[in-house]
């Protein structure tokens, strides 16, 4: 597939887009607040529509689609500011599993697709480019024994399985059940209210059949999952920003000050225009990132550019939308603040603009010094 084909969505992709827009558009702000981080009903609906298996093959009960379609869904989640771990389970964890051979991966993928299991990537993908060390694994017969910590993992009470990246002597990817002896899961919340957790592993024993991948095979799966994470987070951010802009435009048209509609003040109009520009540039980068997952062999540097540019846009759009809402934007009551907080979450998951630029700046240093 070329980038142009990617841009000209397939009929299937358009159908996904329309369905997602309709579904997400029907979810009220109050309903999202009421769910306090997770709605089992919404999750079941996603499963029913096949979205939790969007990347899984038809053999695993999935839709067998690619990053382009996955990104469409992620964008819809952003637009409705849904807190469910769709990206975590259905895209990043499932995306890694699609690249792993073996029955264990297939079974888990099918469970995720069916909505029976929610999986959380641990130590990769979310956040991108984490600077924290992975838990270390050592062999014990054909099992592994793992100790260490994952400080941030997108997992809530409903999350049953962790896909853990391991470091140390035995690098790879394992399935870790929530009730594994020696695993302590401490829950906490994200700035946008979703569920997160800290994992502490003390001599956790993982049997051979739960080892999903090792060495180069696992690395390739992880790289694919990382790319999917970037693409999905970028798409989520664009969906979030689109909605933030729409809310802001509505607000400016509704409210008056000094006897005039806020939307009539040129300074506020120009700030709105700046938001539009940022969003359009972010949209381009989200498209590029989605294309990069399936269409480019080693998209790393392009993904860095994408997350850097999307982070910048997210910061400007988030901050400007609050500014344009004035005092009202400072209240939790208005939806705009929730979108602002989601954008903060997404920037953190994307590694922040500064983090995304770091690798390239180092490469440039080498190039310039040469």
């Amino acid at each position: 597939m070329t980038f142009l084909e990617h841009l000209n969505q397939s009929d299937e992709a358009r159908m996904i887009r329309d369905t997602a827009a309709r579904w997400a558009g029907g979810i009220a702000d109050e309903a999202v607040r009421a769910s306090k981080g997770f709605s089992a009903d919404r999750w079941a609906e996603m499963a029913d529509m096949g979205w939790l298996g969007i990347l899984a093959g038809e053999d695993q009960g999935g839709l067998g689609m690619g990053a382009a379609e996955a990104a469409i869904l992620a964008g819809a989640m952003g637009g409705a500011k849904l807190p469910e771990p769709f990206i975590a389970s259905a895209l990043v964890a499932a995306g890694a599993l699609t690249r792993l051979p073996g029955a264990a991966a297939e079974v888990l993928l099918a469970d995720i697709a069916a909505g029976q299991t929610i999986a959380a990537p641990a130590g990769f993908g979310l956040p991108c480019d984490s600077d924290a060390p992975c838990p270390t694994a050592s062999a014990d017969g054909d099992a592994l024994v793992i100790s260490g910590e994952v400080t941030l993992c997108e997992a809530g009470p409903a999350t049953g399985v962790f896909l853990l990246r391991t470091g140390g002597a035995e690098t790879g990817l394992v399935r870790l059940d929530r009730d594994a002896p020696g695993l302590v899961v401490t829950p906490y919340r994200a700035v946008d209210g979703r569920h997160l957790a800290r994992l502490v592993l003390v001599q956790v024993r993982v049997p051979a059949e739960a080892i999903l991948g090792r060495g180069a095979g696992a690395e390739a799966a992880l790289a694919h999952a990382e790319a999917l994470a970037v693409a999905a987070l970028c798409a989520d951010a664009v969906g979030t920003m689109d909605r933030a802009l729409a809310l802001t435009a509505t607000y400016l048209n509704e409210r008056e000050q000094f006897g005039r509609k806020l939307a009539s003040f040129q300074s506020l109009r120009h700030l709105t225009a700046d938001m539009m520009v940022e969003i359009e540039f972010a949209r381009s980068m989200a498209d590029l990132a989605a294309f990069g997952c399936d269409g480019i062999e080693a998209p790393g540097e392009l993904l860095d550019r994408a997350r850097a540019r999307v982070c910048r846009a997210a910061k400007l759009v988030g901050e400007t939308s609050i500014q344009l809402h004035g005092g009202m934007g400072m209240t939790d009551e208005m939806a705009i603040g929730h979108y602002f907080r989601r954008l903060i979450f997404l920037q953190a998951m994307l590694g922040q603009e500064a983090g995304a630029l770091r690798r390239r700046a180092r490469a440039l240093a080498a190039e310039v010094a040469a």
């Binding site: 956040p127 600077d131 506020l268 910061k315 005092g327 400072m330 907080r341 998951m349 500064a354």
Partner: protein, 407 residues
Amino acid sequence: MKDGPKPGQADHIDLLLDDDLRAFRRDVRAFLGAAVPPETRERVDNGYAATKPEIVAFLKILATRGWVAPGWSREHGGPGWTQLQRFVFNLELARSGAPTVPPFGTSMVGPVLYTFGSAEQKARYLPGILSGEDFWCQGFSEPGAGSDLASLRTRAEDRGDHYLLNGQKIWTSKAQYADRIFLLARTDEGERKQHGISFFVLDMETPGIEVKPIISIDMNHSLNEVFFTDVKIPRDGLVGERGKGWDYAKFLLGNERTGITNVGRCRNQIERLKRLARARGLGSDGAFLTELARVEADLTAMEITEIRLLSAGPGAPSALTGPSILKLQSAQIQQTLQAMIVTALGPMAAARGGEFLSAFEDLDGLPPGFFDGAVGEYLFGRAASIYGGTNQIQRDILAKMALDGRA
């Protein structure tokens, strides 16, 4: 120059002061160093708002030196400090991690009362402000009026022995703590909408007042809506002349603007950034360090600008532009620092709340409160460019002077 810091040290202020002010600064620093409890200091340094008990306890200590109202003359019971002493005092307050003292009593209603109030009003209200015992709040903004104060719709109807107050205020900071409120209400219809507004003071216990919390985007409660339903304001609750409330408000807001640069807090933030950089290994991140050097230069410029404008006095031409210039730049510098800290937190900027605070002992050697507080401060910090006149309003004011030749 022997009292000054060594050359190259970050604190340049001593270099700009004379011996008396340097001695004053040492005195203030020593006193505050002992006056602020370590737990308060840490919470405040992490960006959390002080609690009411913390504020009250601290004011009690300040009152022992007569320092609750730094801007008041001796005549009114204040310390009679010069503007520069106040500048230094504010700097040291922040440096010590002292709770932010709400400005409503000391900087806002107090000066209105001693300038325009009756002898009875002064006797009744000023002592409680000076002792730190009375907690005030401000009833200016109204829903839908925002920066456009003159459009207010709360009415105080003259009923002979009292005014009957009906209406609603919004963004009332700390109203949940307040013993008293000062407010603007419309008493008469004026030709221009600035006319016919009067200035009142009122006990918060008066029947008919209802305070409703506004949870802000940092998920904290510091703002409120205040509803007035047939509230009887005694006649002596009117301050100054009826219908002159707009003038008093402008007088008060003029006072407010000079205190908002928050230079001291910004200095702390720079120290926090260094601490964070050390913890997160950013010592080789040239972009970060240059950005830090840039904001340091900005902050120095703001300090000098504040000193310059303060020392020029109210008659100077800069007195008209100065407040807006300082407001704009201080909002920008504060927000830049807040954003820099959040960015430097990396992925853990994603986390917030009580569960997070207890999930970790430390992160990269820093307490989780450092992370949580920084994100909260960044969120609430968006207010710096909104409250007290948005950035857009400040630019309108400046442009009027540059382009229309009038204030």
